[in-house]
């Protein structure tokens, strides 16, 4: 197997009872690649990430990280879940530290990471607050910060910016690109927003309705930072939109 493959998916099938969600899905994600996953509501995007991280088991087929089944002890994963997942009983700062403390990183490193992540995400003024005291958007930024602080090899984000206003969204899109560039991590990013997908991804995986397969993999060969007004950008966005009209 090639060293350049980070995630390898082979003939993946997943059914819940009689409901077949994923059907014979196969593809590779390269090491250090930024991939966006788009698809209709309920097609199995979240299910795919849960399979990838071994939170659930596939019905058949394989899904490997670095050539082996996901193992959080070996792979430095971070997952921004679709639903709110900040720990309500921890302060913002304690939430940001959580993943690093579980992995027993040394205190200086944790301090440094948390400090920088809090600044990037605009959380440095409310480190002592509890999540319920924050807005939905801020609470989500806590979860994003918890993931960013890990400097993960594999960063999984499930519609992370869905709750954000447009300004914050643009800002955080640039931030995730910066993190990706700085750490060389592999990023798998789910979104409903096609413009966001074209803005972020090197490749876009377009999924079909259930039973879900990969409809098309689009290469986005534009340099970063991208300009949403660039004719080529608009052309690619239109191409993706057309593919999706068939949903």
């Amino acid at each position: 197997m090639s060293d350049n493959v980070k995630v390898q998916v082979r003939d993946l099938n997943k059914s819940f009872g009689s409901l077949q969600v994923l059907k014979d899905v196969s593809f590779d994600i390269g090491r250090g690649e930024f991939v966006c996953l788009v698809g209709p509501t309920g097609c199995g995007k979240t299910t795919f990430l849960r399979l990838l991280t071994k939170l659930i088991e596939p019905t058949s087929g394989q899904i490997l990280i670095d050539g082996e089944p996901a193992d959080p002890a070996k792979h430095n994963l971070a997952f921004v879940f679709q639903e709110p997942s900040a720990f309500p009983w921890l302060t913002v700062e304690q939430n940001l530290r959580y993943g690093l403390e579980i992995k027993k990183r040394d205190k200086d490193f944790i301090d440094k990471q948390v400090d920088s992540v809090a600044k990037i995400l605009g959380l440095d003024k409310c480190l002592k607050a509890y999540p319920h005291e924050l807005s939905v958007s801020m609470e989500q930024r806590v979860v994003i910060g918890r993931s960013f602080a890990m400097n993960p090899d594999l960063l999984l984000m499930d519609e992370p910016y869905g709750q954000m206003d447009i300004k914050m969204r643009y800002y955080l899109e640039d931030q995730v690109i910066q993190l990706w560039k700085a750490t060389g991590s592999t990023v798998l990013f789910i979104t409903h927003n096609l413009e966001e997908a074209v803005y972020l991804a090197q490749r876009i995986l377009i999924m079909t309705n259930k039973p879900t397969t990969i409809k098309k993999i689009m290469d986005v060969d534009l340099p970063y930072p991208r300009n949403i007004a660039d004719p080529r950008f608009i052309e690619i966005r239109k191409e993706v939109t057309d593919l999706i009209k068939w949903w």
Binding site: R50, T53, L55, P72, A73, L77, A78, F79, F81, E83, P84, S85, F87, P88, W89, L90, Y98, G99, I102, K103, Y130, P131, H132, M150
Partner: protein, 258 residues
């Protein structure tokens, strides 16, 4: 300005409620003085009881003695209910093993245990604390089980993604997530413990608020009975204030509903 007015209004209504209660009480009391002494007579009685020991124990001593039994029992009840509840909520197997016995024991009120408890432990402290424990562990266990089952799955997944061990997940995610529910269980345990301890004390005891009421009954001293009852009400109220305060300290993340 507006706020002071609101507060004054609230206080006004509280005073009105207490005032009406006392008036009604007095009104009933003057018609049947033998069955219901008036508030004034009860206050006089309270003064008397505070002044000299009853059966060689001061009034405060009696209250403390009941409180000690309740707190001791709640302590044991937590010792049993919390770990068992965590295990039952966490593991289907443990739940399947324990639940049938628990569901069978639960409807038997602690009072029904009195004869057996006397037979086993006599009428001393042990049997009283045991009886209260029997009633107090139930809400703690039930709330712990529910609390654990209601932990949002996504929070468990966060732990798994970061490779928290099972012990870490239990200690750092399940326990804090369930803590508000557990604490609510402890609160219920204390107030139902406060009821059971009186029953236990009325069966046989030389101290405690239940003993005071019993003593009043034996001496046909209705005022003493009523003072005993009022003490139960006031102390129960104070306990609930203290517990609410403790809860805020212990679960600062909990959104206050007020």
């Amino acid at each position: 300005m507006n706020q002071t007015k609101e507060i004054l209004k609230t206080i006004g209504f509280t005073m009105l409620s207490i005032g009406l209660f006392l008036v009604l009480w007095t009104f009933l009391a003057v018609r049947n003085p033998d069955f219901l002494p008036s508030p004034l007579i009860c206050i006089e009685k309270l003064g008397q009881m505070m002044g000299r020991p009853i059966s060689r124990v001061s009034l405060g001593g009696h209250i403390l003695s009941s409180l000690r039994r309740v707190l001791l029992a709640v302590f044991f009840a937590t010792l049993i209910g919390l770990p068992l509840g965590l295990a039952m909520g966490w593991s289907r197997k443990v739940n399947a093993f324990v639940a049938p016995i628990f569901e069978f024991l639960r409807p038997i009120p602690p009072i029904a245990w009195i004869p057996l408890v006397i037979l086993w432990f006599g009428v001393g402290e042990v049997s009283k604390v045991f009886l209260v424990t029997l009633g107090a562990y139930v809400p703690i266990l039930m709330n712990t089980v529910t609390g654990v089952k209601m932990v949002p799955p996504v929070l468990l997944n966060v732990g798994r993604i970061y490779k928290a061990s099972n012990v870490q997940i239990l200690r750092e995610i399940v326990l804090p997530a369930a803590l508000p529910a557990i604490f609510a269980g402890v609160k219920t345990a204390v107030s139902s413990g406060w009821m059971i301890v009186l029953a236990a004390e009325m069966m046989a005891s030389r101290s405690g608020v239940g003993f005071l009421i019993n003593r009043g009954m034996e001496a046909y001293d209705v005022a003493m009975i009523i003072v005993g009852m009022c003490i139960i009400g006031v102390v129960g109220y104070l306990i609930s204030i203290v517990l609410t305060f403790l809860e805020r300290r212990l679960c600062p993340w909990k959104t206050n509903l007020e």
